[in-house]
Structures are given as structure tokens and as C-alpha cells.
């Protein structure tokens, strides 16, 4: 096992990794920007090194600074967390060149999965169900039109180098295509320096369902079931849960088997998440793979009993899955996660500032992952996630009831948070019944607006 690990991240995930290391007896090194000097990840690590000024580009995203810190602290390995450098294949390569173990897949696999159209083709070859669409890059509007005719409208144009919704266009007819093709191409070229596009069948009301996998360095792969992540606002997940009400044992086992085979072909290693869209008929279609630990990993930990971050560390140290998880995985109960963001409840603008009161809910079936504390400061430079509230119950109703009472007992003062929004979602009849898809939040806000107008009349 590693002697010393550098955690190249901040906030709750840095603390999560530090906790896992402590439990495995590994020394930890935190890195931090000047804005995070008083952060808990700095306090609870065995060592801490300031690597730059507040802006992430000059500190947490600064590869030479992180590598230098790793060298002077003399660590064996780096855990990248999520976001920041976690899916940066170049960073993983520099780690390799510096003889520091990068805790994640090899850079080649990260790079493959980062190029959306290549990842799509690789999964298709490995017989993972993908959405009907073009075989690779579209050379012209003409080619796009041909594929669109084969697939059937509506289709969606996507940037091969894409992410975050940029370079995407939904096309509903032949007539619209030329203009939208040009728009997407230009946007992609501007955003990513690469205007390449591909197209896929567009699903109007998909569910977002993802599968957690673990792969060791000896060719063994495990699927740990799925997470339901359809409660999103502008592609940002708000609430995740496991298992999905829409995935039965048969489907779960089928997808698990397919993933084990396909990821073995690709040479996948460490933890990863395979994202699917579920169409109105309940079929799953691969969209992309995240080659890192996810924000929402705790819901899987609750229902499987597997510590995913410890598993990451042990895999990276060369252990076999059969020694990390000796027994077959049995799913038990239901788990829900609410992301507590520091943001304005209506405008969703980030709400940085000093926290004046911070009371965490606790008790049976409640888990909180946070690096914030009373009198802590939320700096304006980073993402707005300040805590994850995760509940567990023997079934979905119990997990929901627990979430509602935990949200009631979660007190944050001094800044705005998404807690009030979550309280309202938890009261929503469609949410309670599990009737949702990725458009749920749009309808939810629409209904709230209507109720507000009705009430004011």
C-alpha cells in the first residue's frame, strides 16, 4: 500500500480522500490555494503545501505546482478527486513521467474517453448499446443530412471535443439542419479549438442513469449497480439516488455483463462511471464515461457497503478486486443524495461569503460529506458545492422521509444555499412517485411559477 498520497483537490472530496487514506493508514498531503488556507482539508491532512494564489488556474489546475508539491513532499501517489485535474490525461502522463502513481485509469484510456465520438465508437464495438447516430465525425452538412435521415428526426449535433452543452444543437427537421450545423461547428471551434461534430438520435424526455464500475490492474471488472441522476438543472445534477426505480435486476445484470466485457477490451482501470440515457421505452443508450470518482458516489456506497475511495486507493496500489471485495455485491435498501450548493435559491448565482451558523443533521441513516464549518468562508473562486447530504433507508419512502427531516435540521446561515429548494423538491408529488426525467426541474419551476401567480391573484 502507498506510504503517502497527495490529494490534488479541495473541499469535501479532498476531505473524503483524506478520510479514506487515514482509514488505510496512509499519510496525506494537502495542497491549497491562498484562499483555502483555513480549509479543513488543510487542517486534517498530515502535511499541507500552498501551491498558488486563489484562482484555480494558478493553483489547483497548475500542473507544475502540483507535481512540485508532490516531489518535495515525496509522495507515492496522487488522488485527483473529481473535476480539476481528474480527467486531464496530460496530468496523468506527467505523473507517470515523474514516477508518481496517478490514482485513476491510464492516460490513454482517459484520453480515449475524453473524445466523445471515439468513446462512442469504442463502446459500440464492444457491444454497449449506443444511440443511433453517425459513425464518427461528420465531414459536411450533406453527410449530416444523410445520417439524420437514417436515424430519424429529432437528432442532436454534438461537438467531438465537447462538454458542458457547448457545440450542441437539437435539430427537428431537414430545413433547420444547415444553419444549426454551422452554428454548432463555429461554437465548438471557438470553445474547444476543434469544430468536429457528430450526431445522435435525440431523446425528448430521457432519464439520466449511470453505472458505477471498478476495475483492477489485473483485468478484473465489477459493476456496482446504477444511480438515477435525472434531477438536474442545466445539466447540473441536484439529486441522485440508488438504485433506480427503472432498472430491474435483469437489466442491471445485462448491462453489468456488457460493461465488464467492454471495459476489459478497453483496458479500463480504477473507478469509473458509464453514463446512459434511458428512453421512453426503458432502453439504455451509452452517452459517455467519466474516468474518475463521481460527486454522487456515496449513494452507491450506502447500498453496496463498498467504500469506493478506499477501493480506488487499493486498486492503484495493485490489489486485486477479489481481495478488496471478496463477496458478491448485494444491493440493500435505498439511498438519496442532495447537493447542497452555496447559491441563491431563485437566481442560482453563487453565494460566497462567511458562514455564520452551520448545524449538520445527524442520527440514523444520515451521512454528510462537507469541508465547511461554522465561521468558515465559501470563497468565490471555485464550484459552489459546500456539502452533500446523503440518506439511507430500507426503501425509497424511508430514505425520502429521512432526507426531509435531515434537510429540516440542516441550518446554514450567512450565505444562501440550495437547502430550501431541496425541501420543496422532496415535497413534490411527481418526485415522490419517481415520475421524472431530465426535464423534471424545468416543469417543477414552471409549476412553482404558476402556483405563485395563482396565489398572488
Amino acid at each position: 500500500m502507498f506510504r503517502k498520497v497527495l490529494v490534488a483537490n479541495r473541499g469535501e472530496i479532498a476531505l473524503r480522500v483524506i478520510s479514506a487514506c487515514k482509514e488505510l493508514g496512509i499519510r496525506t498531503v494537502a495542497v491549497y490555494s491562498e484562499a483555502d488556507r483555513n480549509s479543513l482539508h488543510v487542517r486534517f491532512a498530515d502535511e499541507a503545501i500552498c501551491i498558488g494564489p486563489s484562482r484555480a488556474s494558478e493553483s489547483y489546475l497548475n500542473v507544475p505546482a502540483v507535481i512540485s508539491a508532490a516531489e518535495i513532499a515525496d509522495v507515492d501517489a496522487i488522488h485527483p478527486g473529481y473535476g480539476l485535474l481528474s480527467e486531464n490525461a496530460n496530468f496523468a502522463e506527467v505523473c507517470r513521467a515523474s514516477n508518481i502513481k496517478f490514482i485513476g485509469p491510464p492516460p490513454e484510456v482517459t484520453r480515449l474517453m475524453g473524445e466523445k465520438d471515439r468513446a462512442r465508437q469504442a463502446m459500440r464495438r464492444a457491444k454497449v448499446p449506443i444511440l443511433p447516430g453517425s459513425d464518427g465525425i461528420l465531414q459536411s452538412e450533406g453527410e449530416a443530412m444523410e445520417w439524420a435521415r437514417t436515424v430519424g428526426y429529432p437528432i442532436i449535433l454534438k461537438a467531438a471535443a465537447g462538454g458542458g452543452g457547448r457545440g450542441m444543437r437539437i435539430v427537428r427537421s431537414n430545413d433547420e439542419l444547415p444553419a444549426l450545423f454551422q452554428a454548432a461547428h463555429t461554437e465548438a471551434a471557438n470553445a474547444f479549438g476543434n469544430g468536429d461534430l457528430y450526431l445522435e438520435k435525440f431523446i425528448e424526455r430521457p432519464r439520466h442513469i449511470e453505472f458505477q464500475v471498478l476495475a483492477d490492474e489485473h483485468g478484473n471488472i465489477l459493476s456496482l449497480g446504477e444511480r438515477e441522476c435525472s434531477i438536474q438543472r442545466r445539466h447540473q445534477k441536484l439529486i441522485e439516488e440508488a438504485p433506480s426505480l427503472q432498472v430491474n435486476t435483469k437489466l442491471r445484470e445485462e448491462i453489468g455483463k456488457t460493461l465488464r466485457r467492454s471495459l476489459a477490451n478497453i483496458g479500463y482501470q480504477n473507478a469509473g462511471t458509464v453514463e446512459f440515457l434511458m428512453d421512453e421505452d426503458g432502453s439504455l443508450h451509452f452517452i459517455e464515461m467519466n474516468t474518475r470518482i463521481q460527486v454522487e458516489h456515496p449513494v452507491t456506497e450506502f447500498i453496496t457497503g463498498v467504500d469506493l475511495v478506499k477501493a480506488q486507493l487499493r486498486i492503484a496500489a495493485g490489489e486485486k478486486l477479489s481481495s478488496i471485495i471478496p463477496d458478491p455485491i448485494v444491493l440493500r435498501g435505498h439511498s438519496i443524495e442532495c447537493r447542497i450548493n452555496a447559491e441563491h435559491p431563485e437566481k442560482f448565482t453563487p453565494s460566497a461569503g462567511k458562514i455564520t451558523a452551520y448545524n449538520l443533521p445527524g442520527g440514523n441513516g444520515v451521512r454528510v460529506d462537507t469541508a465547511q464549518y461554522a465561521e468558515g468562508v465559501v470563497p468565490p473562486y471555485y464550484d459552489s458545492l459546500i456539502a452533500k447530504l446523503i440518506t439511507y433507508g430500507k426503501d425509497r419512502p424511508e430514505a425520502m422521509a429521512r432526507m426531509s427531516r435531515a434537510l429540516e435540521m440542516f441550518v446554514v446561515e450567512g450565505i444562501h444555499t440550495s437547502i430550501p429548494l431541496h425541501r420543496r423538491i422532496l415535497q413534490d408529488e411527481d418526485f415522490k412517485a419517481g415520475r421524472f426525467d431530465t426535464k423534471f426541474m424545468e416543469r417543477f419551476f414552471e409549476r412553482e411559477k404558476e402556483r405563485g401567480q395563482a396565489a398572488s391573484q
Binding site: 491562498e34 484562499a35 488556507r37 483555513n38 479543513l40 488543510v42 487542517r43 491532512a45 498530515d46 502535511e47 499541507a48 503545501i49 500552498c50 501551491i51 498558488g52 494564489p53 486563489s54 493553483s59 507544475p64 505546482a65 507535481i67 512540485s68 508539491a69 516531489e71 518535495i72 513532499a73 515523474s98 462567511k354 455564520t356 464549518y373 461554522a374 465561521e375 468558515g376 468562508v377 470563497p379
Partner: protein
């Protein structure tokens, strides 16, 4: 309390007032410091300023040591400030601190056995190379960002330094 102590105390209080410190604890047992600013609006930026100032006093403990646990409730000092407070503050008030712009390993000379770029008492110019900080096998020459006399080298050769760590104290001219 003898008159000298009282005088020192007065000076300290003046200093705290000037810097709008609301609360100040000191405990010389293991040396604990606790500082709280007067107004709630004290941002991380102000703290960094204080930290910079405190860092500006000679301190031998600026090694990458385990962080001195600050209370989560206190907007507490940097790891480096632990022993800094004891030094008389006004003596250093006019000093300029050259800080490391990168993380790496400090070397006082271009290579082993060679003479140091500068030594204490030297007059240096703005832009003059003071030392090397090695990062990822690259030898980065660190230039002075002011002109003056080297009062103190704050880091030993071969010692790791973090971003923003004080390297030299200069008396400006």
C-alpha cells in the same frame, strides 16, 4: 506588571488596533496564537495580508511542517506564523519580503559547491537573481522584486518551499 511590560503591551494594543484585530490570544506554552478581526467582513484577503506581515519576521520554522492545527472557528494563521509573533514587530515594519513564486526546492547557489548568489548584508538591485527554486527538475532563477540590503535569508539551501513562502528579508533603499 513592570513598566516595560506595560509599554510593550501598549505597543501591542496599538498595533492590534491599527490592524483592526478584534481578538488576540497568545499562549507561550507550546506557542498558540489566535487572532480574530474586529469586523465580520474580514475576508480571506485581509488575513493573507496579516499572514504576509507575520511571515515578514525571521522564522526558522518555515519548513513544510505538519500544519499547526488552527481551530476551525478561528480564521487562524498560516502554518508559518507559529513562532513569528514573538519578534518585535516594528523592527521589521520597513522590511520587504521576497517570496517564492512557485513550489519547489530552494538553493542559494547555482550548483553545489558554488558561491551563493547573495549573502546577508549584500546590496541587491531590482531584477537581480537571489536564488534558485527547483521545480520538476527545472532550475528557476528567482529575481529580487526590489532594491535594498539583504537583511536575512529565511530558508536554508536544499529546503522545500511552498508558494508565497518568504525567502529573503530586504531593507529597502
Amino acid at each position: 506588571m513592570n513598566p516595560e511590560d506595560l509599554k510593550e503591551l501598549k505597543e501591542l494594543i496599538e498595533f492590534l488596533k491599527d490592524n483592526q484585530i478584534g481578538e488576540f490570544d497568545l499562549d507561550r506554552g507550546d506557542l498558540k496564537v489566535r487572532i480574530k478581526f474586529a469586523h465580520e467582513s474580514t475576508s480571506a484577503a485581509d488575513l493573507a495580508g496579516l499572514s504576509r506581515m507575520l511571515n515578514a519576521t525571521p522564522a526558522n520554522s518555515l519548513v513544510l511542517q505538519p500544519v499547526v492545527s488552527p481551530a476551525p472557528s478561528t480564521t487562524a494563521a498560516a502554518p508559518a506564523t507559529a513562532e513569528a509573533v514573538a519578534a518585535p514587530v516594528d523592527e521589521n515594519a520597513c522590511l520587504h519580503i521576497v517570496k517564492s513564486p512557485i513550489v519547489g526546492t530552494f538553493y542559494e547557489s547555482p550548483s553545489t559547491g558554488m558561491q551563493a548568489f547573495v549573502k546577508e548584508g549584500d546590496q541587491v538591485e531590482n531584477g537581480q537573481v537571489l536564488c534558485i527554486v527547483e521545480a520538476m527538475k527545472l532550475m528557476n532563477e528567482i529575481e529580487s522584486d526590489a532594491a535594498g540590503e539583504i537583511v536575512k535569508r529565511l530558508v536554508a539551501t536544499g529546503q522545500p518551499v511552498e508558494y508565497g513562502q518568504p525567502l529573503f528579508a530586504l531593507r529597502l533603499r
